[in-house]
């Protein structure tokens, strides 16, 4: 068995009808798994950027990349190696938890409190996926009621 690797791939596609379905369909049809997916238009262009986090052995990853290239609306596929990776998380806590402690925890992970209502506090952090995992573990002591992870975005360092 070949080693299973985690990979982050960015795909630049023409911003057209059903392009996202083409990409996710490609993964689904071949039984490949998408761990996380982030999509947004690229400013001042008719392109969109998708960041896909996936897992598989080397041959599977190679096939994924070739198949992504093969889609007609695909402009570019970037296989990230030396990259800056960030993921965003929104987390909702009951109002009776310690505001100061939550604030301190969030600051340690590049974030803070973004909303306070009569019932809940909402926090936001943006950090590397591994650190996001740590944050979620650490935040458990404040009894979060809802967690929304945003998926990875990545940029080559050079």
């Amino acid at each position: 068995m070949m080693k299973v690797e985690r990979r982050v791939i960015s795909v630049i596609v023409q911003n057209e009808h059903s392009v996202l379905a083409r990409i996710t369909g490609l993964f689904a049809a071949r039984g490949y798994n998408i761990e996380a997916l982030t999509v947004a238009p690229i400013p001042d262009s008719n392109m969109s950027r998708l960041t896909i986090e996936t897992k598989g052995n080397v041959r599977v990853i190679e096939q994924i990349i070739k198949q992504l290239h093969k889609l007609i609306p695909t402009f570019k596929v970037i296989e990230h190696e030396e990259m800056v990776e960030k993921e965003m998380v929104l987390m909702k806590f009951p109002i009776n938890e310690s505001l100061a402690n939550i604030q301190a925890l969030c600051e340690a992970y590049n974030g803070g409190i973004v909303n306070v209502s009569s019932q809940h506090i909402i926090t936001m952090i943006a950090d590397e996926p591994k650190r996001v995992k740590h944050f979620i573990e650490a935040a458990q002591r404040f009894h979060p009621v809802e967690i929304v992870r945003g998926g990875v975005v990545a940029m080559e360092r050079e």
């Binding site: 009808h17 059903s18 379905a21 190679e62 096939q63 093969k70 007609i72």
Partner: protein, 563 residues
């Protein structure tokens, strides 16, 4: 100039030089058919089932290399066409299939005859479009033809809502296509080609592994030149039959599950495989870990995702085969010594002497292989041969003396029963100068038998030769070999009277049980030039051999079956 969407569709067909459209009208595509009614620039052939329309368009495309075109309506019209799209997709056949769709205002409302057609076709087309305004139509249609027949060819589906076919817009048909995201690599990497050429000259036991890409890229002549110059033996995949002339002494026959002994042994013992446009299908490779175990592999393909998909390749070359061969052949000619492979050729010749591709003929019952060989003797290169799928298909691939590319029209990748007859109609339409023969089985022919009506009405004289063993033969063979003869639902003893069926539709039928009767029937069918069904009663228990059991190794073929 302003036109309705429907007028644009018709106009685009003319501008693309389409001479035939196969199709079936219905509610959502009626505006297009109304415009079609008003023109005489191209012919529409009305099949009796949408699946057959697409297969007929495929037959046309496979016989000519031009884009085949089919029109179908929304909903069931489109879903019937899907098998045809998938068949073309698997074999890289250029098609443009245009379907009607419910009006834009009704899309997503579960309207009458609505289906998410582009959602369905996404996974079995090279590309697809849902047209959202008549303004988009000219460039979408232009792109569809371009995409279908460039790079790795394939089917393109254009879904047009009914209100778009009625909408007026300016018609300016683009003269060329610019898709910034689509740039197929056609020129192979020169350094890599050079390395591959050196590998060929240094090999001791090289073999050409010829695939369907040779036919699609129109490089069969170059391949013939390459083989002749190097004197390296060659195997052909199912899709490459006809690349080399059947009597070329360097042709080892078909490779794979039902390949010849010498072809499969050549692949197993080679030290270099020169793979030109094949896709390493599991029906060819058998057990992957044992495939080409002693060989370095050169793989030339226009589709990068085909290279290294299943086996590791030592010399990957992405490019159009024709352009790559233009560079590679002179480089190989510089260094090659054809005499060097003499010993290797002798070994393979010896393999062929030990286990030639053969069968035991009989005077008591017609053997299917005899029938195919006989058609080959009588019609040879005057016929284009289509098949359905099953034992008859493999026997045809093994025993028909193919002598030119595009002479063999068959559903390889998808293995679509019901393909042969409509495809043969498309062949006849594309090549009226040729005799169009479809070898079929008693199982396969019933899957699109309604096309007898189309063939008669449209004067497309196809000769269907049913190799009738009263079985779903290939499944029966597997049940014999691997399921202790439990013939679950493969006994087709109950059959229609094929002769009367042919006659009921206005064709001519023959029932044949002896060699003399067969010769007479075939001669009569050819002479009369009408739609014919020759129902040939053959040996019920004949098997296709050699056989590499699924997942087995090429060098461990079953060469005979003993009860």
């Amino acid at each position: 100039m302003e036109m309705t969407g429907a007028q644009m569709v018709i106009e685009a067909m003319k501008l693309e030089g389409v001479d035939t459209v196969f199709g079936y009208p219905g509610g959502a595509i009626m505006n297009v058919y109304d415009e079609l009614y008003k023109q005489n620039d191209f012919k529409h052939i009305l099949t009796r089932h949408e699946q057959a329309a697409v297969h007929a368009a495929e037959g046309y495309a496979r016989a000519t290399g031009k884009v085949g075109v089919a029109f179908v309506t929304s909903g069931p019209g489109f879903t019937n066409a899907v098998t045809g799209l998938a068949t073309a997709y698997m074999d890289s056949i250029p098609l443009v299939v245009i379907s009607g769709q419910v009006p834009i205002t009704l899309i997503g409302t579960d309207a009458f005859q609505e289906i998410d057609a582009t959602g369905i076709s996404r996974s079995c087309t090279k590309h697809n479009y849902l047209v959202r305004s008549a303004k988009e139509l000219p460039h979408i249609l232009k792109e569809a033809f371009y995409l279908a027949n460039s790079g790795r060819p394939g089917p393109v589906h254009v879904d047009i809502p009914k209100d778009v076919t009625a909408e007026l817009a300016k018609f300016e048909y683009p003269t060329h296509v610019e898709i910034p995201t689509y740039k197929p690599t056609t020129k192979g990497n020169v350094r890599q080609i050079k390395k591959a050429a050196e590998a060929i000259c240094n090999a001791k036991r090289p073999v050409f592994y010829l695939g369907g890409g040779i036919i699609h890229s129109g490089s069969a002549d170059l391949v013939r030149e390459f083989v002749a110059a190097t004197q390296i033996p060659a195997v052909e995949t199912l899709m490459a039959r006809g690349v080399l002339d059947h009597d070329d002494p360097l042709l080892l026959g078909m490779v794979g599950m039902h390949g010849s002994y010498q072809a499969n042994m050549a692949m197993s013992e080679a030290d270099l495989m020169i793979a030109l446009g094949p896709r390493f299908d599991d029906r060819v490779t058998g057990k992957l870990s044992e495939f080409g175990k002693h060989a370095k592999i050169i793989h030339v393909d226009i589709d990068p995702s085909s290279i290294g998909k299943l086996v590791d390749v030592d010399y990957p070359i992405v490019g159009d085969l024709k352009e790559v061969l233009d560079v590679m052949i002179p480089k190989v000619k510089e260094c090659v010594d054809p005499d060097k492979y003499q010993a290797w050729r002798e070994i393979l010749k010896r393999y062929n002497e030990i286990h030639p591709l053969t069968y035991e003929d009989s005077d008591k019952v017609l053997k299917p292989q005899w029938v195919i060989e006989r058609v080959g003797q009588l019609l040879g290169d005057k016929a284009v041969i289509s098949t359905d799928v099953g034992q008859h298909q493999m026997w045809t691939a093994q025993f028909y003396p193919f002598s030119f590319p595009r002479q063999f029209i068959t559903s390889g990748g998808l293995g679509t029963m019901g393909f042969g007859f409509p495809a043969a109609m498309g062949v006849k339409r594309a090549r009226p100068d040729m005799i169009s023969v479809n070898f079929t089985g008693d199982g396969s022919i019933l899957m699109n038998i309604q096309e007898l009506v189309t063939a008669v009405e449209s004067r497309l004289p196809v000769i269907n030769i049913i190799l009738n063993n009263h079985y779903l033969g290939m499944v029966r063979q597997w049940q014999t070999f691997f399921y202790d003869k439990r013939y679950a639902e493969t006994d087709l003893s109950f059959q229609p009277d094929f002769v009367r069926l042919a006659e009921a539709c206005g064709g001519i039928g023959y029932r044949v049980e002896t060699k003399e009767e067969f010769d007479e029937a075939l001669k009569d069918a050819v002479d009369k030039g009408v739609v014919a069904m020759i129902d040939v009663i053959v040996d019920r228990d004949e098997n296709v051999l050699p056989m590499v059991p699924s997942g087995g190794t090429l060098y461990n073929m079953m060469l005979e079956y003993k009860d």
